[in-house]
Amino acid sequence: MPSRTTYRGPGPAALSLHVNGQPLEAVVPPHRTLLDLLRDTAGLTGTKKVCDEGTCGACTVIVDGRAVYSCMTLAHTCEGKSIETIESLSASGELHPVQRAFIDEDALQCGFCTPGQVMSVVALLRAKPRPTEDDVRRAVSGNLCRCGSYTGIVAAGVAATRRAPGRTAPKGDTER
């Protein structure tokens, strides 16, 4: 919730926020979404545009610790806020445990929803480091996967905190 009322526009106005730990200054119109700011202004194309109307979750990013649909978030409402995108997770060169778990559990097929799914799970794990399957289901219930990799996504969400980075999945039954 904004703590004070600010008026901007009608034309482009200056905006200042942090994206993946770096300051970002931009002059954008009031209707610019956070998604378009990230993709077009910041050049961070890992966040995907699918429906652009808040119905699929592919554009999920983390704003001040919370997973949000960036297509439904106006850029100017993020003044001074800290945004994390999929690109931030492996900035050190190491995969984030959630990313590792997605690969090991084969929690993706075409991969187009994957950045959004991963960000939803990352936000969950920060709030609840040892989630149940149902916690993961709730966390990604707003993230569509048309390839139907949901079983793997839930498994990855549960396995992520138990998994040391780099470890490959055990062999086993194909039922996951």
Partner: protein
Amino acid sequence: MSPRVVRTRVEFEGEINDELSIIDGRDLPAWRGALDVVGARTPRVDGVARVTGRARYTQDVVLPGMLHARFLRSPYARARVLKVDASRALAIPGVHDVIHRTNAPKAAFRGEETIFRDEVRFAGDEVAAVAAVSDEALRDALRALVVEYEVLPHVADLEEALRDDAPRLEEKGNVSDSGKQDRGDVRKALAQCEHVLEATYRTSTQLHNCLESHSAVAHWDGDRLTVWESTQHVFGVREGLRAALRLPLSRIRVLCEHMGGGFGSKGGVGKYTIAASILAMRTGRPVRFVLDREEENLAAGNRSATLQKVRIGLRRGRIHAILHSSWSNAGQGRWVADPTGPTNSLYDLPDLKTRSYRVVTNAGSLSAFRAPGYVEGTFALESAIEELADRAGIDPLQLRLRHLAKKDPLSGYAYSDKRLRECYEIGAREIGWKARKRGGAPGSTPDRRRGIGMASQIWGGGGGPPAYATVHLNPDGTVVARCGSQDIGTGTRTVLAQICAQELGVDVDAVRVELGDTDSPYGPTSAGSLTVASVGPAMRAAAADARAQLLGTAAGILEVTAKELRVERGHIVSKGTRTPIKEIFDQLQNYTVIGKGSRFPNPERIAIKTFGAQFAQVEVDLGTGEIFVEHIVAVHDIGRVVNPLTAASQVQGGIVQALGFALTEERVVDRGTGRVLNADLEAYKVPTVRDVPRITVRFLDTPDRRANSTGAKGLGEPPMIPTAAAVANAVANATGVPMRATPMTPARVLAALGAR
């Protein structure tokens, strides 16, 4: 050996075609014995790119000076375009170009001479395309275009289009023949039956909703056109652009490194591809053309709604005759995904008559959608068989076993391999089929009933030529393997890396697979469940060729005969000594090894098919009509499983998509206007994580050594085929009422229960 031309039978989406194919050399014998790379659970080789957001999809391609483009689409289901006035649109700052029917260059597209018709034929048909510097300018320009239409009478609904008083959309009428089979004398046979079931089945239009919408980025540098496209077939797009733009193939390059789902809808060039290319050539700037979600659901293909009538008769405990007629809403499409395919080919049925009709309407064209026709047809066939068996007091699985075809009913050829009986046995055990009772079982609350049902699956998946690959060995022992195929999310890149690594004798990590580029050797469309069985053998042959070249060279350097050498995990092994490949190259400087491989023809007079069976357990709330799918058991026979990890994902995904078809997905069109009312992901219900039941996946994993040199067949489509029928049969078992329409929404379930 010089190349030679052979004729071979290739099955593609239920159609069998004779194809000429050029082959070079001799095919490899099928793999024998244990393999260590092929068959191992292998994480996706492009997994890191996809989980980090680094994978670049078409919508992520940004080029300097790039313009954005969109279509103006018809709001009318049928109208004559009298006039397009672009003057106000062109006056908007940032708008670079507008093309429409009077100023666009001729561009052949699907049998027509232009991408902008004089008569628009569905709500969403393309009227004009605009290119502008920003999305804002683009939207302003679309609003500023003035179009005069003469609205014509339309019909968008399948069953309305069948009526005599419906507007006649084509000269010969709205209905045309598109397939028939006759075996024996059905009329006579039906008259002899003790039980005859007559039933009408309806399936709704399903929308693909690939998360990455159809999109293209076109770049014309004055000499060559480069197009990034989200496609299942880069070579198909290149051919479509050649036909539309009349450019030589050497001046067109199509690229698709990663793509976000196709499911059949991205089989070739789109109007947006052609428009992007024309606009790029006219403006001299790169053009990005990305359909939005609504357009995706209006004009990017769908699975046809069907009306199917089945008459099936039983005599002395056997299916004695079947009559299956189907009408498909093709929209403006020129073909039909034939729902009678499974009826014609799944069982040994002596007396059979099937008819398939295409119905043209003022709706968006169909396109292939994961097992086109077979999903719809299996729903009708397998529902009818189970209902008939129950009526006669025969176990439905036993009835199916009585008609297990020993040879392909269509060609009369023997199967390369068939393990459907084992699929039945495993599935029946996993679901507890023995406990199935007519009339189902009590559910978890007094309002609920529980039931189980099953359905069988047949599909092609044998693949065939042409498909080619090259394997380039680098001086450090790493490998670049190339083929102009695509990875549409199925795991092609990983499977090809495994096949290459296995044959060459290196680790999977050493192989980089480059796909999706028409400057590579030809790869077929990523459709029809044909990739692994088509490109896999070509890749294996290329790796074998590279290995032979490497060993010949290594033999010279190590001063032994090539026969004494083998390649193992990146080393040349000879009687106890292991020399890294790199060391051989170090002595030869920039010596280059390029292995070349092609897909050899399919064996003659052999039918190559995939089989499977799925079993469903459901609970049904008799008060609300809700169906709760509790468990799906899927057992599929696809020959050798190259990667159990990605194969299981494909089965899971096929079932989830099929559950959408079975339970929730339905395009709704307003009959009065012909407009789609749910062209979005809010009102059109694709399954979410909450809709996924427990799914048990089993493979027989027995190499089909007669099919091709890898023993592997396709898997993309099979898992989608039987799910809806299995669920419908489980619901019928639970409630005692047949379910004859998809999606089986609570409203339809309640209506069926009420009609009892």
